[in-house]
């Protein structure tokens, strides 16, 4: 199997070599920096730097190689084949790069390398250089783990990581298949000509910038983590905070921006109708951000005076551990059915789990103050690892490890950090910063619990028997439920999280509002109230205006409370920036960021609690009679060309258009004008016909207008009634705008509906197509009708469709002379005589006469009969000519006829109105901007504070 034709094996070999060297270099860097720290030795430090530079080059080389493979469409490589194709435009090549597990690990690794180099560069100028060796040890160690994730080598039968440089013929499932020995398999097998392509959901510009931002945020959490571990290692509990602090806020800024970009992507490209759905993947990125915010703020306190050291350590360490945990949750496959956009396992679970547990263990180990305690804990952990792996009882081993770890954490707290210092004053800034950090931690804990429900099931499984016997002895049913271990995530996930998170958001917002007004140590209460009272008053005013404008009621008191708290946070920080800081831009960063934070919450609160389902369909059958949980009649049906009232607009489905694989649906929106009737106009109301007596403008209700303006018509034809327009008080005004929601047609990944949104300054109208005629079948060309459905019927049969019921009265041959002379003898024309009734109006009848022309026993063409008022058409497709018998009196015709029925083309549309969503986006920008200003300030002021 020496020479395969057309393969570019050198790239894969280069990739493998580079991956291996990145692993080796990271290992070398770890060991060198470790020895440099322990022995305080400059030689080892220099070697460590060299190794880290080597590691950097290797990582960059891997990335360049992979990009080269993608760029040149070398589809013999599995990663290239899976994630790209020829048709895809090159601007999304970056999305291809990180669509898969391996690529996103590379992206993460890349940012660690970049940040590591920035740190090395800053240390070279002498700033906090004592921290270089220990911090770099931790960073390099993390890189060792990340390198194994893409290593793809076998140790025995166990594969470590997945390499992106595998040829398809080298994949496990393909080894030994006959085609792998064909030298010309690339040319011979058509599948290799093109790749599978990129998921259409990811072909969006947000998906080009969101993942790198998010991963830079994740990577930034490593630096405070490494500094904290270095502090514990060197037993310098305060010195690490000054250099780590700006990095913590850098992480807050970047991670926060990344999360919100994800929300923007969801809002723009996904069709679940919103920007945040509390999906496990979203939660997994939010939770570390919450703890990082807590950690960053506590560092501000503790670099002055160590009052809550243990909490700072805990929050800083847990932030990175939560990043690892979120990686584990979303990539190992444990979430299974619960998340729509998590990766599947690919055998990554053991590696990721070890990665996570190792750093939990390392953190707790270093938190223990005494060497003997550390040795004991390390020994037990190693023993549990061996037991878990060798005896193949991982879950009990993990549970035991968890218990031991928790115990040791308590020991660490009791013996090292339980300070006997006097407590802080209630009127001090540090006390409330401490409380705020704990609230953020609790919020993170709650989200983590609920997101981890699938993990609980796995952990509870081995305890099943114990819990079951506990249940039988105590008789408490809850234990049986625990023993069954079949918990599913909350079925009302959004309500669940909103309910739990609202109090946390309330407390956090209040703290954001007033904590800055307190001074360190103790504050003058009078001055405090004097400074803050205007903000308090303004917040109450804003709340009152919002309650009035958005019509909040008493049962929504919790939301009003949060509204007040966020408004207070907004006014108080605005006040702080203008009054206390007197508008000096230099120190305004935190205030700007806090204003942004308040606006994000305020915008989210208003837009989610006041989302209006404008497409709510009142015309159709009420689903609630089926099941009381079914009240979400949230979609509207629009026939093409129809104009329908929807909220504050009339909407008309004008046309659909196919453009580059997308199917666009043009929806015109019109204003709503009052309707004027003239004397003599007739309208239908129910079963009655009315005629207008005078020129007038329609009021709110017909009954109010009727006595003065309308007279019932007693004598009228049926036709006059059914063709009279229904009374309404509004008519479409001028055309205002057009929205084009579309469906990405993608035979490989499935069709994806994408929304289109109209933005106003104070609200958004968000629409997407839920159902449409996709012209997938050959017969359903763009002819204004849905695809035909064919029935086999005989005379006397009925056909029931959603709007109509049709009865076939007879089928006969048209023999009139006009037809004959036109077509000649060769052709036979069959016609079906049908009566069609409105399904909902027993007295509304129509006639239909579809026709089919036969020549020599085969159908040549047909003409369908359309009934526009019922939006249905009937066609006669086949007649069994041989068995056909002319209808005659007293003889029932039993020959089968093929009849086709089609409805007028329609789409099902969902439209949501989000008020105040721009507050959220403005908040996002301010949050990022303010944090950025603060970070800049911190980085700049460092030299002056350096000892």
């Amino acid at each position: 199997m020496s020479a395969y034709i057309g393969e570019h094996t050198w790239a894969g070999q280069l990739g493998h070599v580079l991956t291996a060297s990145s692993f080796v270099m990271a290992l070398l860097a770890t060991v060198s920096f470790l020895l440099a720290t322990q022995r305080n030795d400059d030689h080892w430090k220099r070697l460590g730097r060299l190794a880290f530079h080597g590691h950097t080059l290797a990582v960059l080389g891997i990335i360049v190689t992979l990009f080269l493979m993608l760029f040149n469409h070398w589809f013999e490589y599995d990663y290239v084949w899976k994630h790209s194709n020829l048709a895809m435009s090159m601007e999304y090549i970056a999305s291809c790069f990180w669509e898969g597990q391996e690529g996103s690990f590379l992206l993460w690794t890349f940012w660690h390398v970049v940040l590591g180099q920035v740190l090395l560069w800053r240390w070279r100028s002498g700033r906090s250089a004592v921290w270089e060796s220990p911090v770099m040890t931790i960073i390099a160690l993390v890189q060792v783990f990340l390198a194994t994730m893409i290593l793809g080598v076998y140790i025995g039968d166990i594969r470590i990581g997945n390499s992106p440089f595998l040829l398809i013929r080298e994949l496990e499932e393909n080894i030994g298949l006959p085609w792998t020995t064909m030298p010309n398999y690339l040319q011979a097998i058509p599948q290799f000509a093109d790749g599978r392509g990129l998921n259409p959901l990811l072909q969006n510009y947000w998906m080009v910038i969101h993942p790198p931002t998010l991963f830079l945020g994740f990577a930034a959490t490593l630096i405070p983590f490494a500094y904290a571990l270095a502090g514990l290692w060197k037993r310098d509990h305060q010195g690490w905070m000054t250099p780590a602090l700006p990095w913590a806020f850098f992480g807050i800024m970047v991670l926060g921006t990344g999360i919100l970009m994800g929300g923007a992507w969801a809002y723009e490209a996904l069709s679940f109708g919103g920007f945040w759905a509390w999906d496990p993947v979203e939660n997994a990125s939010l939770v570390p951000w919450l703890t990082l915010v807590g950690a960053g703020h506590l560092m501000l306190v503790n670099k002055r005076k160590s009052t809550s050291l243990f909490t700072v350590y805990l929050l800083t360490l847990i932030t990175f551990i939560l990043v690892l945990y979120s990686t584990f949750l979303t990539r190992s496959g444990v979430l299974g059915d619960t998340s729509v956009h998590s990766f599947t396992g690919d055998g990554m679970l053991p590696g990721l789990l070890f990665f996570l547990l190792f750093f939990i263990g390392l953190s707790v180990l270093l938190l223990l103050p005494r060497t003997d305690q550390r040795r004991f804990y390390a020994l037990i952990s190693a023993a549990l690892l061996v037991i878990g792996v060798v005896l193949e009882i991982p879950v009990p081993a993990i549970l035991l490890f968890g218990a031991v770890t928790l115990g040791n954490l308590l020991i660490a707290y009791r013996s090292a950090f339980n300070s006997s210092e006097p407590e802080e004053s209630l009127w001090s800034r540090e006390f409330w910063l401490f409380i705020g950090s704990l609230v953020l931690l609790l919020s993170a804990v709650q989200i983590t619990f609920s997101t981890s429900i699938p993990v609980f099931n796995l952990l509870l499984e081995p305890l099943g028997n114990g819990l079951r016997s506990l249940a039988s002895t105590t008789g408490i049913e809850a234990f049986t439920q625990l023993a069954d271990a079949r918990f599913a995530p909350p079925s009302e996930a959004i309500e669940h999280y909103n309910r739990w998170q609202l109090p946390f958001a309330f407390i956090t917002s209040m703290l954001v509002a007033f904590t800055q007004y307190l001074r360190w140590k103790d504050s003058d209460r009078r001055k405090f109230w004097r400074d803050i009272r205007v903000a308090l008053l303004l917040a109450a005013l804003i709340t009152a205006v919002c309650v009035w404008a958005f019509d909040y009621t008493l049962p929504e008191a919790d939301r009003v409370a949060l509204l007040f708290a966020t408004a207070f946070a907004f006014t108080a920080n605005l006040g702080y920036a203008t009054v206390v800081l007197k508008g000096r831009l230099k120190n305004a960063g935190p205030s700007v960021a806090h204003v942004g934070f308040a606006l994000v919450l305020l915008g989210a609160l208003i837009s989610t609690s006041r989302t209006e389902e404008v497409s709510r369909n009142t015309k159709n059958m009420d689903l609630r009679f089926l099941n009381e949980a079914f009240d979400n009649n949230e979609d509207i049906l629009l026939y093409r060309g129809d104009t329908v009232r929807m909220g504050d607009h009339f909407v008309r489905y004008r046309e659909k258009e196919r453009k580059e694989g997308n199917l666009y649906f043009a929806m015109d929106y019109y204003g709503v004008e009052p309707r004027d009737y003239r004397a003599g106009d007739t309208v239908r109301v129910g079963d009655m016909l009315f005629v207008s007596q005078s020129d007038h403008r329609a009021g709110d209700h017909f009954l109010a207008d009727q006595p003065a303006h309308w007279r019932p018509v007693d004598q009228h034809t049926r036709r006059a009634l059914w063709y009279a327009p229904e009374w309404s008080n509004a008519r479409p005004g001028a055309a205002q705008f057009t929205l084009q929601p579309f469906i990405q047609i993608n035979p490989r990944f499935g069709n994806v509906p994408e929304p289109d949104t109209r933005h106003w300054w104070n609200k958004d109208l968000y629409t997407h197509v839920r159902y449409a005629d996709l012209e997938a079948d050959a017969d359903s060309a763009d002819d204004g009708w849905m695809p035909d459905r064919t029935y086999d019927k005989t005379v006397g049969d009925t056909i029931v469709t959603p709007t109509a019921i049709a009865i076939i009265d007879s089928v006969y041959v048209m023999r009139d002379s006009a037809t004959k002379s036109m077509l000649g003898e060769r052709y036979t024309v069959y016609a079906a005589q049908m009566r069609v009734r409105d399904l909902y109006r027993s007295d509304r009848w129509f006639e239909a006469r579809p026709v089919v022309i036969y020549a020599d026993g085969a159908p040549v063409m047909g003409r369908a009969a359309e009934i526009p008022p019922l939006r249905v058409k009937y066609g006669l497709s086949t007649v069994d000519a041989a068995a056909f018998v002319e209808p005659s009196a007293g003889q029932r015709n039993v020959v089968k006829y093929g009849l086709t029925v089609a409805e007028a083309e329609f789409v099902v549309l969902q439209a949501l109105m989000f008020p105040g969503i721009n507050i959220l986006w403005i908040g996002c920008v301010l949050l990022a901007l303010g944090t950025g200003m603060a970070v800049w300030q911190r980085f700049r002021e460092r030299p002056s504070k350096q000892a």
Partner: protein, 129 residues
């Protein structure tokens, strides 16, 4: 009692409440037989679309009602009324998770449904030679 103790107690209490709360709000995975035994209680039921039966979606009658037949993992089938528009590419779905409850007459009313399509993320790339 020191203030820190009060804070500690509050934290522990809220943590426990959050843990219990997340389990309390959690739903339960069940198969169809279990859901049928307990009509009216909400369950998550995992299964696949029974392609041999018709998927009925008549948007002009009701735009948010889809009726189909699902086969659960133990092989039991059941008629499902889903209170949503028919999802795009429903026919191609590989795995369904229904969220809803059974009725007395042996049907299942799904309030919501999660759907996994085979090729959305990591399709097995089997290439036949």
């Amino acid at each position: 009692m020191k203030r820190s103790h009060i804070i500690a107690i509050v934290i522990i209490a809220v943590s426990i409440a959050a843990l219990v709360g997340s389990l309390y709000d959690s739903s339960t995975y069940a198969d169809l037989a279990q859901a049928m035994e307990d009509p009216g209680t909400e369950y998550h039921v995992v299964g696949v679309l029974d392609r041999s039966q018709e998927i009925i979606y008549e948007p002009s009658l009701n735009a948010s009602l889809t009726t189909f037949t699902m086969k659960d993992l133990s092989g039991k089938t059941c008629t499902v009324h889903l209170a949503k528009a028919k999802p795009q590419d429903f026919e191609r779905s590989e795995r369904l998770v229904l969220i809803g409850s059974a009725t007395e007459n042996g049907e299942f009313h799904a309030r919501d449904m999660l759907m996994k399509c085979p090729s959305k993320y990591n399709e097995e790339n089997r290439i036949e030679g």
